[in-house]
């Protein structure tokens, strides 16, 4: 056979015995996946040969070291939030990623777990002493109750498919918040919620500090991931995947479709409820507004960003989104890292060759100084504004144009920036490279002038922008695999 110009591997000869049923391109896949030479190849080979549980153990070990690196309670709280979101994304992955059922009421299971733990570990029921079960009593009760609730909620999935099931679960989710807010205020607390919940307590030891909750959550996450991985590789997992792709065909292959769907709901509910109990214990209070729809949206974003259908993807998406939202975007300096960092990252990845990248960066810097000089010459007040605190803004002072009254100019600049970005996507080639320069400069000016002054609104804006950009860049999610949906 003639050597195929498509392959670049010259190491292996193209001569191969043709196999029946295997065409040439397929036969070369083994060649193409030849490992890189040297230590990188050795590492890759070791990684491929390792089973799943050593990988999980290594990840868990890394996770366990984290509380020693983090210096204060806030960072630990960010870590706890991240682990909670990862756990929730894992649970949602079962119904959405594996079984293909759009469950918009998932947050209600989370709330159920939290309220269940709250009722069983506080003075709310049976005043004045209340019920105070230890964790090894209340957690199993809640898990079983959540499984039953998942079954009940999943029952309509017999008759409803797709978006109709989604609506029903959405009702259930909204109904939970309404229920806990308005019904039986003396038993469920009403809008005042349930307060003074016991910490997780077993055999005389209580979890009080953030560090202990971090480790407990990490252990819970690792155990859940392991259990779900085993489930994924079992008949149930295969049944879920079959039902997701084609329920009718799965039914004809003797898979009990209804039972499988109910199991998906149940398992997801149990995972969410366990996350809810830890949430209630760590927060010490639960209120109905903790479980509203915006948080559900966050869980979905985390799952899909990370890659629906993959355990690692769900965990990664949850960790990443939560750390970004709470760790980075809550402080203007760190939000600046993220902003400039992501822009630079996109440039580095998208602009090739490296000469072009350097040219654009140099041009932006020069453009900035020129514009700053011109504007300063025209009117002093237009550059009198102080780029607010941040790691490079004192250096940027002579580069960005920030007027002393930055609000109106900043708003106009923001709208112009959005239009420029849209225009950038439209044009191609040299015009695009040239248009990049003023866009980058305007982005820096708008950031320093307006966006840093309103960190709370900027936080939401950046999350929206990141979601759009990430889904356009990688629709299957970070660790997801490309799928073709048969509609």
């Amino acid at each position: 056979m003639a050597s195929d110009p498509r392959t670049t591997d010259v190491s292996v000869e193209a001569k191969q015995d043709p196999s029946i049923g295997v065409d040439e391109w397929v036969a070369r896949t083994a060649q193409r996946r030849e490992f890189a030479p040297g230590w990188r190849g050795d590492a890759e080979r070791l990684f491929e040969r390792m089973g799943w549980w050593p990988k999980l153990a290594i990840a868990a070990a890394f996770g366990a070291i984290v509380p020693f690196i983090l210096s204060n309670n806030f960072q630990l709280q960010v870590g706890i939030n991240a682990l909670l979101l990862a756990l929730l994304a894992l649970g949602l992955n079962i119904s959405v990623g594996w079984a293909g059922l759009l469950d918009l009421g998932y947050i209600a299971f989370y709330g159920f777990g939290a309220y269940g733990f709250a009722l069983l570990s506080s003075n709310q029921l049976h005043p004045p002493t209340g019920i105070h079960f230890a964790a090894y009593v209340s957690l199993p009760i809640i898990a079983v109750a959540a499984a039953c609730l998942g079954l009940i909620v999943g029952l309509p999935s017999r008759r409803l498919i797709g978006d109709y099931l989604a609506i029903l679960t959405l009702f259930f989710g909204e109904a939970f918040v309404e229920f806990t807010n308005n019904v039986a205020p003396s038993k469920l607390g009403g809008p005042n919620g349930i307060v003074s919940i016991d910490p997780i307590r077993a055999f005389g030891h209580s979890l009080i500090s953030n560090k202990s909750y971090f480790w407990f959550l990490l252990a819970l996450l690792v155990l859940t991931a392991a259990a779900l991985h085993l489930l994924d590789n079992s008949r149930t997992g295969r049944a879920w995947r079959a039902v997701r792709e084609d329920p009718l065909a799965a039914g004809m292959m003797t898979i009990p479709v209804n039972r499988v769907k109910l199991m998906a709901f149940s398992f997801g509910a149990v995972v969410a409820a366990l996350a809810g109990t830890v949430f209630a214990a760590q927060q010490v209070n639960v209120f109905p507004t903790d479980f509203d729809t915006p948080f559900l949206i966050l869980i979905y974003a985390a799952l899909i960003l990370g890659g629906a259908g993959s355990i690692g993807g769900a965990i990664l998406g949850g960790l990443l989104l939560s750390v970004m939202l709470d760790g980075f975007l809550r402080s203007p300096t760190e939000a600046g890292y993220l902003f400039y960092g992501v822009i630079l990252l996109t440039l580095i990845v998208k602009l090739r060759p490296w000469r072009k990248l350097l040219a654009v960066l140099a041009a932006t810097v020069a453009f900035g100084f020129v514009v700053h000089a011109i504007v300063e010459a025209i009117s002093k007040s237009a550059v009198a504004g102080q780029p607010s605190g941040g790691w490079i803004s004192s250096d940027l002072h002579n580069w960005v144009v920030v007027p002393s009254n930055a609000t109106t100019a900043g708003n106009i600049g923001f709208v112009v920036l959005l239009c420029l970005v849209i225009a950038l996507i439209q044009v191609k080639g040299r015009t695009r490279t040239v248009l990049l320069v003023p866009t980058l400069y305007l982005a820096a000016c708008v950031w320093e002038g307006v966006l840093v002054e309103n960190p709370s609104v900027t936080r939401q804006l950046l999350i929206g922008a990141i979601l759009i950009v990430m889904m356009n860049a990688r629709p299957q999610g970070l660790l997801g695999s490309k799928r073709v949906e048969v509609v």
Binding site: V96, L102, P156, R159, L160, I161, G162, D163, Y164, A166, I167, L168, L170, F171, E174, A175, E178, F179, N182, V183, D246, P247, L248, A249, M252, T293, I297, Y300, A301, I304, L305, A308, N411, F414, V415, L418, I422, I425, V450, N454, V457, T458, Q460, L461, I463, G464, A465, I466, L467, I468, M471, N472, P475, Q476, G477, R483, V484, E485, V487
Partner: protein
């Protein structure tokens, strides 16, 4: 009796607004199988456009042009502006994801929703804006028979909504573009192979759906006066519910679903108690969904292997 009619009219007014937004949802779902979570925010943008039109012409107490002309401007600008915004969003956020699994554009839509809501928050602040309709359309117009009070604005909302729905139904049923839209909804690849310009058709669909949402926003401002940057979230959820309950992808279904939810809310508030309105309305809708699993007017989707 008067109480019943009063609540009915209130319900139909609110229901027509839900129906208009639900129409946009249904249309977009029909062609792209996408649940556009940013749709409610287009409604909010329309309401703000209408508010700024009023301010442009002197403010609610000192209008410089006659009221019918003002209304015309508001509807045209809101409809056209929000329509163009919808087309732009489709072009830049959803088109690259046309062949991705359905769940991916869901998140992009969420991102667009965050972006829209918070851009408006950044530019215009969080204060509620007040249309103050009673300053230029007085309460004394309209139908007043004894204790029954139907405001002119309510009549206008119902009238405009009905007119728009009829126009849309005729458009989809009779015109060439409408046929193209139906073809693309049925099977996009086949439509492309038949020579239909799919990109253009989808852009037109988005334009019409978003324009409807924009006009609904203006009418919400006229009827209920208060607009704020997050009003789209709840309206979007309710309209999504209406679209699905009526049978997603079906235009008359969206209308029916919207009206149903509006009337149910109104009746439950009037006759039972406002505390449990949401719970009871959810309950009714759940029962309806279980009785007719593919929505009221939805087609049972053909399952093939």
């Amino acid at each position: 009796m008067h109480f019943f009619i009063q609540e009915l009219v209130n319900g139909i007014t609110q229901g027509s607004l839900y129906a208009l937004i639900a129409l946009g949802y249904s249309m977009v779902y029909g062609v792209l199988k996408l649940l556009n979570f940013a749709h409610g925010d287009l409604y909010m943008v329309g309401a703000f456009v209408g508010y700024f039109v009023i301010q442009w012409f002197g403010g609610s107490t000192a209008l410089s042009i006659p009221v019918p002309l003002l209304l015309l401007f508001m509807f045209l600008l809101a409809g056209g502006g929000v329509g163009m915004l919808g087309v732009a969003i489709e072009r830049f956020a959803y088109r690259p994801l046309r062949d991705a699994p359905r769940i991916a554009p869901l998140i992009t839509a969420l991102g667009v929703s965050f972006l829209l809501e918070n851009t408006m928050l950044l530019l215009f602040g969080a204060s509620y804006r007040d249309y103050n309709t009673s300053a230029f359309i007085s309460f004394n117009t309209g139908i007043h028979i004894g204790p029954l009070n139907i405001d002119l604005v309510q009549l206008m909302v119902i009238g405009v909504s009905v007119a728009l729905m009829i126009a849309l139904t005729l458009f989809v049923a009779r015109t060439k573009l409408g046929r193209q839209m139906r073809a693309v909804s049925a099977d996009r690849e086949a439509a492309e192979m038949l020579g239909i310009d799919v990109d253009y058709t989808i852009a037109v669909t988005f334009f019409i759906g978003s324009a409807l949402a924009g006009v609904a926003g203006v009418m919400d401002g006229l009827a209920y006066n208060n607009i704020y940057t997050l009003m789209g979230f709840i309206a979007g959820l309710k309209a999504f519910t209406a679209a699905v309950v009526g049978g997603i992808g079906s235009i008359p279904g969206a209308m029916l679903g919207g009206l149903l939810i509006g009337i149910a809310e109104s009746m439950v508030t009037g006759y039972i108690s406002s505390t449990y309105t949401n719970l009871i309305v959810f309950g009714i809708l759940i029962v309806m969904m279980l009785v007719r699993p593919s929505g009221l007017l939805g087609k049972v989707p053909l399952q093939k292997v």
